[in-house]
Each structure stands twice: as structure tokens, then as C-alpha cells.
């Protein structure tokens, strides 16, 4: 058990190091952007009719701590994020980023995870079936669906659904809440309203995730099915579901769990665009808002960091989960036999 604890701790530190690296990269990129926060904010102000001098900018820079060296600013940013969970203030909007993101980020994370779960709950049975059956119609139709998922990017699908529903039902199905619930406090009615609208983004986000997952599961199962131990089991008289569940499906499970993190990454990629089309007001759309409207580097950095952090967390969890359920990995950690 001690060794397992060691394993968990090493993995944990690796995850932290990855996050630090990511935060450094994100911070550097945000830094490379021309004009810093002070200039940006003041030019935004001057746009509204004020006069700005160079001294104003310098004073604002001092106030925001922008005159300090780059590495120190990064360290204080990371320190605040890691120890206080505080992303600081948004550059243009001048409100706390935590407040701005808070619930929105959780909702979008929830949407993405649900989409992922949906994708795998379709892809695993369908993939196993298509890899193990010799029915050409089934195989071809599953192949067709997965190619369609690749060629029809989510944003196109979202667009089509939205346009069609506007034309057919007169309701564009956009937004996560109806008008009357948009700013209401959480209540049972609001949850119900949310559910009645959230299925669409979940479906759209899950669409190409399902296509990808289907291909992965199918390829893995096809690989395992051809192996000798499956033939041996078959020779012993096992067949059908019993055989599949007991041997190849178990082996194929490990790489699938391993790939979850990257699948989440893919879903996150789709999120902002789908969010934009469906006019969801969660972090994906907020990111576009932050970028396109106001060039808000702090907010953008915080969102990218949060997205990456959830992927790193998922990777960490799947690593631990794999060690627990896969005896091969378990043994290699515990040493011996």
C-alpha cells in the first residue's frame, strides 16, 4: 500500500509540474500580446472619452504591478491561483475573474463531461459489436457514422440544427435557460428548464466525440480479437458475450480509459464554437467574448488555464483508476510477481 501511495504522490507531482509548465506557456503567450493591461484598459477608457497621458499609463502599470519583472509576475499569478484559487481581476471589465467565471465554468465542464459520458456509453457497446460481428451492414453503417462525425464538424451540426429548428419550430433552441430563468436563483423549475435545453449542446458536443471514440474502441477490439488468448478461450468453448466480456473487452478497456483525457481536450476544442452558435453564456462563449470584444488577456488566460487544469486532473484520475483496475499496472507498481 505504501508503494501505491508513492505512486499516487509521484503522479500528483507530475500533474502539478505539467500545470506549472502550462501556466508558464499560457502566461508567456498572454505576455507576448502587444500592449499590456494598463495600456489596454486606458485606451478603452479613452475610447469612452477621456484623455490619457504617458504618466497615467505608468501609474496604472505600477498599480497593477506590471513594472515588476516578468518571472515575478508569473510567480505571483501562479501562487494566487494555486494557493488562493484567485485568478485576479479581469483586465477590461475590472471585476474578479472568479466571480465572472464561477458557475459558468462549472456548467460548461458539466456539459463537456456529460457529452463525454454519452459518447462512450454509445461508442463502447457499438464499437465492441462492430469489431466482433461479421455483419457487413452493421460494420459499414458504423463506419459511415463515424466518418460522418469526422467530416461534419460540431459547429456545422450545431448550425444545421439551429437553422432547421428556427425554420421548423420557430424556436432557435439557443441558450441554456429560458428568458424567465436566466438570472433566477437555482430552483427545481430552473433545473428542469436547464435540462430541457442542455440536451442539445450535450448532443452536439458528443457527436464527434462519439465518432472518435467509436473508431478507437473498434480498432482496439479488432486488435484484441485477433490475439491468441481469445482463440484459446474460444477453443475452450466460451462464446458470445461471455467470451467478449471476460477477455478482449477487458484488455481493450485500459487504453480507452487512458485516452479519456485527450477526448476531453477534443470536446473543449469544440466548446467555444458550439457555444457561440447556440448562444450559450458559459465559459466557451465567454472566452470568445473576452477575446473578440475586449482583448482581455487575463480572462482568456484564466479560461485556458482552467480548461487545461481539468484535463490534467482527468488524466491524473484515470492514471490512478487504471492502476487500480488493471492488474498488470498494479503489479508493476507494487513490484514483484
Amino acid at each position: 500500500m505504501l508503494r501505491f501511495g508513492q505512486f499516487v504522490i509521484t503522479r500528483f507531482f507530475l500533474a502539478i509540474v505539467t500545470l506549472l509548465t502550462v501556466s508558464f506557456i499560457v502566461f508567456t503567450l498572454m505576455e507576448m500580446v502587444p500592449a499590456n493591461c494598463a495600456e489596454r484598459y486606458l485606451s478603452y477608457k479613452s475610447f469612452q472619452g477621456g484623455q490619457i497621458s504617458a504618466e497615467d499609463i505608468a501609474a496604472e502599470e505600477r498599480r497593477l504591478g506590471l513594472d515588476k519583472p516578468y518571472v515575478i509576475r508569473w510567480a505571483s499569478w501562479v501562487g494566487n491561483v494555486f494557493f488562493k484559487g484567485d485568478f485576479g481581476d479581469s483586465c477590461i471589465l475590472r471585476v474578479s475573474i472568479n466571480q465572472l467565471l464561477g458557475q459558468k465554468f462549472l456548467i460548461s465542464l458539466g456539459l463537456c463531461l456529460t457529452a463525454l459520458i454519452l459518447a462512450y456509453s454509445i461508442a463502447i457497446p457499438a464499437g465492441i459489436m462492430s469489431a466482433s460481428s461479421s455483419n457487413p451492414y452493421l460494420n459499414n453503417s458504423i463506419r459511415f457514422v463515424s466518418y460522418l462525425g469526422l467530416a461534419m464538424p460540431n459547429f456545422l451540426l450545431a448550425l444545421m440544427i439551429m437553422l432547421l429548428s428556427t425554420v421548423l419550430f420557430g424556436d432557435s433552441l439557443t441558450g441554456l435557460f429560458s428568458k424567465e430563468f436566466r438570472d433566477a436563483a437555482w430552483s427545481w423549475a430552473r433545473v428542469r428548464d436547464f435540462m430541457s435545453r442542455a440536451w442539445l449542446p450535450v448532443f452536439i458536443l458528443g457527436w464527434s466525440a462519439t465518432a472518435f471514440a467509436l473508431q478507437t474502441v473498434r480498432a482496439l477490439m479488432a486488435d484484441e480479437n485477433g490475439k491468441l488468448y481469445v482463440t484459446a478461450a474460444r477453443a475452450r468453448g466460451l462464446s458470445g458475450r461471455q467470451l467478449l466480456m471476460r477477455y478482449p473487452a477487458r484488455h481493450a478497456l485500459a487504453p480507452i480509459i487512458n485516452s479519456l483525457g485527450f477526448d476531453l481536450n477534443r470536446v473543449f476544442n469544440e466548446l467555444p464554437i458550439v457555444a457561440l452558435i447556440l448562444v450559450l453564456t458559459e465559459s466557451g462563449a465567454l472566452l470568445i467574448e473576452a477575446l473578440a470584444r475586449s482583448n482581455d488577456q487575463q480572462l482568456a488566460g484564466a479560461i485556458i488555464f482552467l480548461l487545461t487544469a481539468s484535463i490534467v486532473t482527468l488524466n491524473f484520475i484515470t492514471d490512478i483508476l487504471l492502476a487500480l483496475i488493471d492488474p498488470r499496472i498494479w503489479k508493476s507498481i507494487m513490484g514483484g510477481g
Binding site: 505539467t18 502550462v22 502587444p34 467530416a151 464538424p153 467555444p272 464554437i273 477575446l291
Partner: protein, 401 residues
């Protein structure tokens, strides 16, 4: 007599068989891949479609009858429906395909939409090789800030276009609201999207070769550090990061400069997957017996890399490049679609897709969706060819199944 004939025949067959085997055993890697690729029907179809689309993109100025920019707009046919050429109608058959003349009116009765009435008795015939707007067959010019950086490669000035029509203009895919020809725009969009993809893939490829190569060749702590950075970048969701970078392109930049930067950004973010593959190839190949054999024979490291390692995986790298191409195109499209990538004077598939976001389009101007079909065909063709190449490049693919 009959016996000798049959032995001669079998001799011949054996000889042919031997020749076939010899050809197989002495074939280069690319030949083997091509032989396997040919057998894959869906990949071949994808390849043909891809070839057609790429040549449509490359020869876009020649194939498109009108200037895809605002300069080439047809003021008399804004938001016009596609004009399909016919060979015959109730007035009889014609060897030369023709389209009809039309007249357009708009009034309060039609909610100020243009109403087109077709005059079926007045035919306009298609012509080949008509002269039209001026273009360069080879045009790689780029207008960057500062005269020094301008790339100005233009050859073969020409005004000949594949087809046109005797009088007025022909719009195979209709026109958009300013009156630009959607057919011409689509062809140019394919070119732009492919060009962005090519530059992006090229940059990603160079970075991947250098970083993956260093990592795979030296191993040890260099490998560990580089791998950590690669993995860290791989966990960052690419599109939000693209957006973050693309949003900061100043608005006053020219379309070409934007185009170049979008490509560079795509390349800068796309390398980690490729780099990992290069490293894995290098690491697995490095420990192969043939490398050891070469080393035992006294070959220098440079010789081993050049003569043994590089040829062993160039084909795989090519395959990886093809596979990563559609993602570049998709990313460009997505970026332009949300308005952070290329912008309107440039014709790219993403810019074209931007036009279809209104319900008005679905109800009244369905031909705006034609570029969407081309976009899907392009991505699908790349995916099919990539999959086919990957299967063909894997020497164990046939034994596995």
C-alpha cells in the same frame, strides 16, 4: 508434346511468379505503400476526389470565370440563384450548353427581394477559353509590412478562363449578397484553406523534426525535459488557444498578413503530436537489429541516420503529415467561422461558412450552402487518404487481420 507445353507453361508461370516476388522483395518502401494503397478502394476514391479538389484550388483563377473579390461582382445579379447550363429544353437541342436570360425586379410586394423571371426563349451560350479578368498562373505574392519582406513571385500573366458565357455572366453556384460569384469564391477558398494548411503543416513539421529528433536521438534527460514540454502543450486545448492568439491580431493588419500569421499559429500549436511520433519512430528504429548491424560494421552515426534511420521513417512521416492536414483545415475554418481568423476580402472555406449562419439563408438562399459540401468533401477525402496511407504504411496491417 502436350507435356512439354504444359511444363513450358508452368515454367513461364514460375518465372512470372519469381519476377513478381523479386519485384516485391526489391521494391522500395514507397512502392510497397503504393501497392497496398491501390487495393484500398475507399482510399483510392478519396485520393481521386482529393486530387480533383487540390487541382481545382491550384488552378482556381483559370477555372473561375470571375474575380472572386468585390471587383468581380455582378451588380445585376445579387443574391442570384445558381444558373444551371442545359443542353436541351422545349425549344430544342443544342450541342453547346446554354443558360437563359433573365430580368429582375424588386418591389414592396416581394418585400424588396429580387424576383428573377427567366426568359426561356433567349439563350446565352457557354464558351470555352474566354478572356476575362487578369491573373497570374503562378502567384505566390504576399504583401507584408515593410517593402523588404514582400514576396513577389508572379509568372505567366493571363486573361484566359476556362469558360464564360456569350453575354452577361454565368453563375454556376449563384451569387452572394454583393453579387460575388460563389463558384469562383469556392475555388479560391479551397486554395486559401489548402495554403494555410500547407504552411501550418510545414512549420509544425520542421518543429516536430527538430524537437522530436533531438528527443529521440539523444534520449536521457533531454528527452525527459522535451517530452514534458511536449506533453504540457498537448494538454492545452488547441482551439481556445488559437482563439486567444488570433484575437490579438491587430485589426488594421492586411488580409495577407493575417493569413500568414494564422498559418504560423496553426503550425506553432500543431507540432507536439507530430514530434511525439518522430520521437517514437526514432526510438523504436534506433534499437532495431539492422541499426546495430550497421554500427557493428563500423558505420558512423551520420551514416546510420542518413542511410538507415531516415529512409526507414520518411514514409511514416509523410503519412502523419497527410493525417494532420485536415485538422489544420478544420482549425482554420473554425477560426475564420467565429470571426477570429481570416476575414472577408480573403476567400477561405471558413469565411464562406460564416455566410450561412442566418435562417434567412436557409429559407431563401440555399445555394450559399454549396461551399459547405466542398468543405466536407475536402475534409473527408483527406481523412480517407490519411487512413488508407496509414494502413498501407503499416507493414503488419495485413497480417493482423
Amino acid at each position: 508434346m502436350a507435356e512439354t507445353a504444359s511444363t513450358a507453361l508452368s515454367d513461364e508461370a514460375a518465372l512470372a511468379e519469381q519476377k513478381r516476388k523479386e519485384a516485391y522483395f526489391s521494391a522500395g518502401q514507397l512502392q510497397l505503400i503504393w501497392a497496398r494503397f491501390k487495393k484500398n478502394r475507399s482510399a483510392m476514391v478519396g485520393g481521386i476526389v482529393l486530387l480533383a479538389l487540390v487541382s481545382m484550388g491550384v488552378f482556381a483563377p483559370f477555372l473561375s470565370p470571375y474575380d472572386p473579390t468585390i471587383a468581380g461582382r455582378d451588380k445585376t445579379y445579387q443574391n442570384g440563384a445558381p444558373q444551371i447550363p442545359y443542353f436541351w429544353d422545349q425549344n430544342g437541342f443544342s450541342v453547346r450548353p446554354f443558360i437563359y436570360s433573365y430580368s429582375r425586379t424588386r418591389s414592396a410586394a416581394s418585400n424588396f427581394r429580387w424576383v428573377t423571371s427567366v426568359d426561356k426563349d433567349k439563350r446565352r451560350y457557354l464558351e470555352l477559353f474566354v478572356s476575362g479578368w487578369e491573373y497570374h498562373v503562378i502567384d505566390l505574392s504576399l504583401d507584408l509590412p515593410g517593402d523588404f519582406f514582400d514576396i513577389d513571385i508572379q509568372f505567366l500573366k493571363s486573361t484566359t478562363h476556362l469558360f464564360g458565357v456569350t453575354e452577361g455572366q454565368i453563375h454556376l453556384f449563384g451569387t452572394d449578397s454583393p453579387g460575388k460569384d460563389i463558384f469562383s469564391r469556392t475555388l479560391h477558398a479551397i486554395y486559401t484553406s489548402l495554403a494555410v494548411g500547407t504552411i501550418g503543416v510545414f512549420i509544425a513539421f520542421v518543429l516536430a523534426l527538430v524537437i522530436g529528433g533531438l528527443s529521440g536521438y539523444y534520449g536521457g534527460w533531454i528527452d525527459a525535459v522535451l517530452q514534458m514540454i511536449t506533453d504540457a502543450i498537448r494538454t492545452v486545448p488547441a482551439i481556445p488557444l488559437f482563439m486567444a492568439l488570433a484575437a490579438f491580431l491587430p485589426d488594421e493588419w492586411s488580409a495577407e498578413l493575417r493569413f500568414l500569421f494564422i498559418s504560423i499559429i496553426l503550425g506553432l500549436i500543431g507540432w507536439p503530436t507530430l514530434a511525439r511520433r518522430v520521437r517514437t519512430h526514432l526510438l523504436t528504429e534506433r534499437s532495431q537489429d539492422y541499426v546495430l548491424a550497421a554500427q557493428l560494421c563500423g558505420a558512423s552515426p551520420g551514416h546510420v541516420i542518413r542511410r538507415h534511420l531516415l529512409p526507414s521513417f520518411t514514409s511514416y512521416i509523410i503519412v502523419d503529415l497527410v493525417i494532420s492536414f485536415p485538422y489544420m483545415v478544420l482549425s482554420e475554418t473554425a477560426l475564420s467561422f467565429i470571426g477570429l481568423g481570416l476575414k472577408d476580402p480573403v476567400n477561405s472555406l471558413g469565411v464562406m461558412l460564416q455566410n450561412v449562419t442566418k435562417a434567412d439563408v436557409l429559407l431563401n438562399y440555399q445555394w450559399y450552402f454549396i461551399p459547405v459540401i466542398f468543405f466536407m468533401a475536402l475534409v473527408l477525402a483527406f481523412v480517407f487518404v490519411g487512413d488508407g496511407l496509414r494502413d498501407a504504411a503499416d507493414p503488419y496491417a495485413s497480417t493482423k487481420k
